[in-house]
């Protein structure tokens, strides 16, 4: 049981580290905003681009 829990915690930690690293890395110049029209057809909720687009819309 214990190794399982430790392993899952480690995996979550790995995800958090990679997420933070990815967020810290700036997108190349001129590409910070991705064309919203291109991904309009997809219904994926987990998509981070869609979330940021919605947040911008709400603001």
């Amino acid at each position: 049981m214990l190794p399982g829990i430790l392993f899952v915690c480690g995996a979550v930690g790995l995800y958090m580290v990679s997420f933070a690293l990815n967020k810290k890395t700036a997108a190349p110049e001129g590409l910070s905003k991705i064309d919203a029209l291109k991904c309009g057809a997809c219904q994926n909720f987990a998509c981070t681009i869609k979330q940021t687009l919605e947040e911008e819309e709400a603001v």
């Binding site: 899952v8 979550v12 995800y15 958090m16 997420f19 933070a20 219904q43 994926n44 909720f45 987990a46």
Partner: protein, 255 residues
């Protein structure tokens, strides 16, 4: 279209009954939002496997919605998605082990699609868009309604495919019901189109169902448009009459 529907429901804040029933037709995850099409195509070759898959999704979605809405205030925004993934995959693992223990045939026929419930957009989507913003009771009801709507869609597809491919609806084969047999035994060549049991049939059946729903929708819109036009004409006519009356009156006054 999806955004419009979401906005409308957010404005109205419907009661619990509407919250429960919206998943069946109006916001059906499969037919309206095209979510979870992978299982909707893959496990619907018979009615029983569709029902089994639907029940697993009911279990996972209700429990994950409850847990997500319970802990929504304690999770920082950055780790939202990974924590949802952990919660959902915990329940999926549980449900997989339970199925393996109590319904082995179902476990074998669903196979790889049991772990794949984790990446079903429906579950992550409800956690993200509903459970993380609402209280426990309405999240549970929303999860139940949405999952039952998903089950309903799967069963509709499953019943059409099984009937078209075998001419009968079998029961007790995958689910541990205790009895087994089949109903509607049409033993004719007309009802033995094996292609509907295979991969191609899945796409075609869902395509036909979506086309029927789209036709109904279009018909409704057309009728509403005709009614609106009539109303506008009626208003114009009334306005014109009033104008004429006034003119007549003023003409009469001058005379």
């Amino acid at each position: 279209m999806a955004a419009n529907v979401a906005k409308k429901t957010a404005k109205k804040t419907p009661g619990q009954l509407a919250n429960f029933t919206k998943g069946f037709i109006k916001e059906n995850p499969v037919f309206v939002f095209l979510l979870g099409l992978c299982p909707a195509l893959a496990v619907t070759s018979t009615l029983e496997t569709s029902l089994g898959m639907g029940l697993l999704v009911v279990f996972v979605l209700v429990l994950s919605n409850i847990v997500v809405s319970l802990i929504k205030n304690f999770i920082p925004k950055e780790v939202k998605i990974p924590s949802y993934i952990v919660i959902i995959s915990t329940f999926v693992t549980m449900v997989g082990l339970l199925t393996e223990a109590y319904a082995e045939n179902l476990f074998e026929s669903l196979g790889i699609f049991i772990p794949l419930i984790v990446v079903n957009c429906l579950i992550l989507g409800r956690a993200e868009s509903f459970a993380s913003k609402n209280n426990v009771v309405s999240s549970a009801i929303d999860g139940l309604g949405m999952a039952l709507g998903f089950t309903f869609a799967l069963m509709l597809i499953g019943v059409s495919r099984e009937f078209l491919s075998t001419g009968a609806i079998a029961y007790g084969e995958y689910l541990p019901l205790g009895v087994s047999g089949s109903i509607f035994n049409f033993d004719t060549h007309l009802f033995n189109m094996a292609v509907f049991g295979g991969p191609a049939g899945g796409f075609i059946v869902i395509g036909v169902i979506l086309a029927i729903l789209q036709a109904i929708d279009l018909n409704k819109k057309k009728k509403a448009e005709i009614a609106r036009q009539k109303m506008i004409e009626e208003k114009k006519r009334l306005a014109l009459e009033r104008k004429r009356k006034k003119e007549l009156e003023s003409a009469g006054g001058q005379a």
